[in-house]
Symmetry: D2
Subunit: 236 residues, 4 copies
């Protein structure tokens, strides 16, 4: 014979338990919300265009929404046209560290190679490695997870007859080595783009497959990059 | 009714006064010694060679000794061959700020211009200005007095027919403007060298007047630079 | 004892003399007409644009008409955009010799200097001199009178701070020497343009005084070049 | 009634016939000797070094002797250091046509590509093709058989990470196309060298396999080139 009080007490207990659970759940959710991963994309004009409609960062956002993962990630674009590796280094504090990202995806190198021929102001490979290393060290010292991206293309011909292919391959090798040495993630777009072109560029065209102008991404290019990047940073 | 004690006291007082004065004097001297001005020369191979026997920094030290001013100044060389403005920026913390100089003399620009033609890896003028400004700001934020030096020469012909003359004049103009804008001292070696060559290079030779190889200083060059720098940094 | 016959004979003689003189005069005039001097302008895009309305060759034609000298000269444009000295050499036979000019005005050099920085495909100074000499020799071997023109400008700043000023001055010196060595006429546009800018470009602008874009001629530029060229080739 | 004289006459006749036949035979042999094929090697420093002891032309001569074919071929070196395609064109008359070769092997392209980066004075691909075509046409117009050689290497790394690989592949493609279009023989050293390195350069070294310095041939290089060239020009 349970008396009303007991029931009352039990009910109250249940209510309290429920309330606490609710609060805890709410707190957990709040914490989860607060813990949205901030991923910053640090690069040149290709990344600057990445936040445009149809751009690779925009597409990643859309893909995250579709998959119901939008609440987990915040994507931040930090690309500036014409940037070389030392330009990234110069603006790290204001444009990266100040934004307290959890993850930084570095994508640089095209201008370091290209500007040799077009302006005489490219970057020597040893300096490229030095500045790149300095950036990685500074990010890792703040506990930021770092991904390195190889420069995709200056010309889409698949027989390595694009004028900058030799240098791009060389700088891509530097980046691959840096990723290994510094325990960074690697997004090997140079390889991805070549593989794609070997399949989809039978006429050995200079552009129009993944780029509009040998360098900047067309729709297919933005889509391919979004896929690769998403795989890398979400791990799936 | 002066007692001996009083006399004693007075004597003691005097002694104490004298002692304190002595100590203060000693401290003052000690502080002066401690306040030896540390002047750091921040640059490329020309500055790296400046600390060699006969180099311009070595000559400044010798001149200071002759004038009995050696106890006032400590000269520190911080030149590395092949450095461009962004290389200086990258190694500021370790090579300059860590040495706590009172004065920094920046001399850079030859490689920023020269490497355009020789390696395709010079520095764009807008980037040159940006990095140079960043260096000045960082030094001045620490209360360091900053002197800027214009690039002297890549070729000593006086009719502006040395291949890099146009760019050197342009970058020298940037540096002159930066000195004005940022309240830095200016050591205008480009002007000094041209004036000297107009007097001493009647055959319009490429090198051999102030340089061994169009760029690096011979004895006359080191001597001229030592004079100009000494005038600037000691103010006499 | 003069007989009638004699008079008749004398009259006849006179008539014949007069007739012959008339015929000779007519022939001389005819030959003069036939001997209209053909002046060919051999160069790059600046010369290619010279035959456009308002172009320097068009203006020369107009000036000749005004002065009543149009019947004496035939002006032929032979400029092709992007040409360097060796391009001129390659197309001499078809574009110059085949047209049997009496006078050739060579104006080349801007691309030989400029393409170093913009494409890495400029012309070494020793090769520049070699090809230029080969062109002169080939023209002179055909009895053609040759005028050499110095490259006017890549940038109109008057303090020799245009990036290519050093090289332009150097290549202009080569051309001046070639004119002297090979007994060619010299049209020293580099000097003419600098003198004009020293008077009319007080703000030290890069372009807009004699050029539209640092290189190609605006109205004032075309007018100045037409004047200088006309003075040189007509000798007045 | 045959008299001795007749016999004598017949004998004499025979003797004379035999003598004439002998002379004709001798003359025929002499003419054959005179018809030794003159093969001229037209190129840059690699070819200039080819006539040195151990050089590829010297080795070809030695191989011909060994095979007893020396009497059939005369090999002439016509290489000059630093030559680009337009330098070959400029000196064709004096250095090639004047020597009346039966066969010309053209090997050029390394400097056209290399000098872009090292001096800013390489050759644009369209100009490269234009001058190359003009050389071929001029040789073929004289009935000379022409072989084209692709530029072998500027760096022996096999993963296309030598800085000039892109351009070298591109210019090699131009040459392959020119050989086809103009019915010239092709000696595809670029392919030969790559194939050799894929087998013998497992460490992906820059030089030391077939070159001393990434460009100029070592013993193995000279030997490989001699083999390839001999196969091509003798047809065996």
């Amino acid at each position: 014979m349970h008396c009303g009080k007991c029931c009352n007490l039990n009910a109250m207990k249940k209510f309290i338990h429920f309330s606490i659970a609710s609060i805890l759940l709410f707190m957990a959710m709040a914490m989860t919300v607060q813990k949205k991963q901030r991923i910053l994309f640090f690069g040149d004009s290709i990344t600057q265009m990445g936040v445009n409609p149809g751009g690779y960062i925009t597409r990643m956002n859309e893909a995250l929404k579709k998959r119901g993962l939008a609440w987990q990630y915040e994507l931040v674009g930090a690309g500036i046209g014409g940037n070389k590796v030392y330009d990234l280094y110069l603006r790290m504090d204001s444009d990266v560290l100040a934004k307290e990202p959890d993850v930084v995806v570095i994508w640089v190198g095209v201008n370091d190679v290209w500007h040799k021929a077009s302006f005489g102001t490219g970057t020597d490979p040893d300096k490229f490695e030095k500045f790149y290393t300095a950036i990685i060290k500074k990010l890792q010292a703040k506990g930021i997870k770092v991904f390195l991206t190889t420069p995709a293309t200056i010309g889409e011909r698949t027989d390595f007859s694009n004028p900058q292919d030799g240098d791009l391959n060389y700088y891509a090798n530097i980046i691959r080595r840096l990723a290994k040495t510094n325990n960074c993630g690697l997004i090997d777009l140079r390889k991805t783009f070549l593989d794609y072109n070997l399949q989809h560029n039978p006429e050995n065209k200079e552009s129009g497959i993944l780029t509009t102008d040998r360098v900047h991404l067309n729709d297919a290019g933005n889509s391919l990059v979004a896929d690769e990047m998403l795989k890398a940073v979400t791990g799936k």
